[in-house]
Symmetry: C2
């Protein structure tokens, strides 16, 4: 690679300080017009290219926003990102995306990568609730880079979040299964250290209690958000002495896996077994046996996160107001839980 | 935001030049040990944080790789990115992603954003073949940042690419429809300025000719890669005097839309009408009426693009070898084109 011409090279050639070169290039009024012209001419003759980022290092603004998500191959996260872009693009911001693949170490690296890329803000969904990335989060805050959580959040003082009411989401999905006459409702739960999954579980539990159904721990299977995990869960659940007659899954992907496994076993859905998912991924609607799912308004969540960011940077005072925006979930009832009466 | 401490502030305090401060911080051997210690102590006392990116500006390496795709909400692009990450992460590279939303202006902005973020390379799938972004592409090359195209490429001297044999993909999908007894095969084509779509179309056309079927221009509908576009295409095609009895769609999303519209019209698939798609998106497999589709080995495509990048940066000579890697497509035959004999 060819050597990059720096302001130090220009300074050396003109026998002036690098600071003077820098000020001249940045039109600092303290610099004499004749000096400015000399610097500009010399810079041009040396093929010096002023780097926008070098300017950002000085001005503290790059107009880039970093977004960190566990994965991009989920319609939910892709839609949140679209919402963020739709809101921020008219304000001149470019969005750059990193994914953690559900790995806290990658999350840590993503945080430093984005800070190094001089982003003006980080909007993210956390991967897991551990303390191991606390230093990385505080590094962001110390650099005065606004940090906003969406969907999956973590309690950090001064950090705003945009989430949905996951408790309610779990509640309404379970209630619909009860309304269909299901008596033994299992739950595929996600990582319980994450609030979203904990709250979906608590909503599920409350719906059972409110409707006189005893909560049975054996019906709760902690599973990943994957088709494979849903299949495995069915294999475990159908081995129970009293197998369930319905599942509320905290993930659409696991719900899909459950449905595939039930079909392979020739169990009739929804007549013998009802399945409801969470996230309203497009495939839930497109399947011939469409899947009931809880919609999380991802586009709105993205836009709202972006608005919270814009509000935060617009604030001229140094008082930080922690904002907690909670959106309402919406149940989309489809064939997988619609029994004929 | 609090003012950022710069090397100029340290230089001013110590009454030395910024260049001296910079050299001291970067352990330049020309600097006296006593000066170095003084600078380090002063920097620490002023809470100066050396920015990794500022170092990158000097060293020319950030260990970040930029990836630009038309959209992230397609399993194909998400999988290519996963392949890139799997290959580059063990080499210490972090991947940052931008999406163009099929908009050349956004593509242009993405290119400058990533260059400003000091990426060490850009791996991308172009959005459209226009000349309007030539300056942005040449800006990347002038900065000696390796540029590699995957899937959708554009001819630029010295730029390597990794694609699949789209002609063959179009050919084998169409041939399968012919083998099922379809006589009037329509084609939903994408933007014909992009080679991938042009080659799929040419493969389709060749398969017809090789099998004694006359090519009919009216059967070719240029459509976007969306469910809506597939529905609209069916509406146009069924209005023809001789409506087709099959579709080879260059997009799975459009194929899905076509299937939905055919179902709404109570047209039996595959007995009355066969539909084949392209990309092997996961939903094509998961649907009860699974969709025949051409697999593009996206994970392999991503890994291969990453390998081409690694080879390029490992080269010590300045001779650039343009590499054209072409992967083989694979047809996955499913229910949407499997007639009972």
């Amino acid at each position: 690679m060819s050597e990059k011409i720096t302001i130090y090279d220009i300074a050396k050639k003109l026998n002036i300080t690098a600071a003077t070169v820098s000020r001249a290039l940045n039109n600092n009024p303290k610099i004499k017009e004749s000096t400015r012209e000399l610097v500009l001419e010399t810079a041009a003759s040396m093929n010096y290219k002023q780097n926008k980022l070098a300017l950002a290092l000085k001005s503290g603004r790059s107009n880039n926003i970093g977004v960190i998500v566990p994965r991009i191959d989920s319609n939910f996260f892709a839609s949140v990102i679209r919402g963020i872009e739709e809101e921020l693009y008219p304000h001149g911001y470019q969005v750059i995306i990193c994914q953690t693949h559900e790995n806290p170490k990658r999350e840590n690296e993503n945080l430093y990568t984005l800070i190094d890329a001089q982003v003006d803000g980080i909007l993210m969904s956390v991967t897991a609730v551990t303390n191991e990335n606390d230093k990385a989060f505080h590094n962001v805050l110390e650099k005065n880079v606004p940090l906003i959580f969406f969907d999956r959040s973590k309690h950090i003082n001064g950090v705003s979040s945009v989430t949905i009411n996951d408790f309610k989401g779990g509640y309404i999905a379970t209630k619909q299964l009860i309304d269909q006459g299901c008596k033994c409702i299992a739950h595929l739960s996600g990582d319980q250290s994450l609030e979203i999954f904990k709250n979906r579980f608590l909503g599920y539990k409350q719906a059972l209690l409110d409707n006189g159904i005893t909560f049975n721990e054996k019906y709760v299977i902690q599973s990943k958000s994957s088709v494979e995990a849903g299949k495995n869960a069915i294999n475990i659940l159908l081995e129970l002495e009293t197998p369930p007659d319905a599942i509320f899954s905290s993930s659409d992907f696991a719900a899909l896996g459950a449905i595939e496994e039930l079909r392979d076993r020739n169990i009739n859905i929804p007549q013998e077994f009802c399945v409801a998912g969470f996230s309203n991924e497009p495939f839930t609607k497109f399947m011939e046996l469409s899947i009931t799912s809880v919609d999380q308004s991802p586009l709105e969540m993205g836009k709202m996160s972006a608005r919270v960011f814009l509000e935060q940077v617009a604030k001229t005072d140094s008082i930080k107001i922690e904002k907690k925006v909670v959106l309402a979930p919406e149940l989309h009832i489809r064939k997988s839980t619609s029994r004929e009466k």
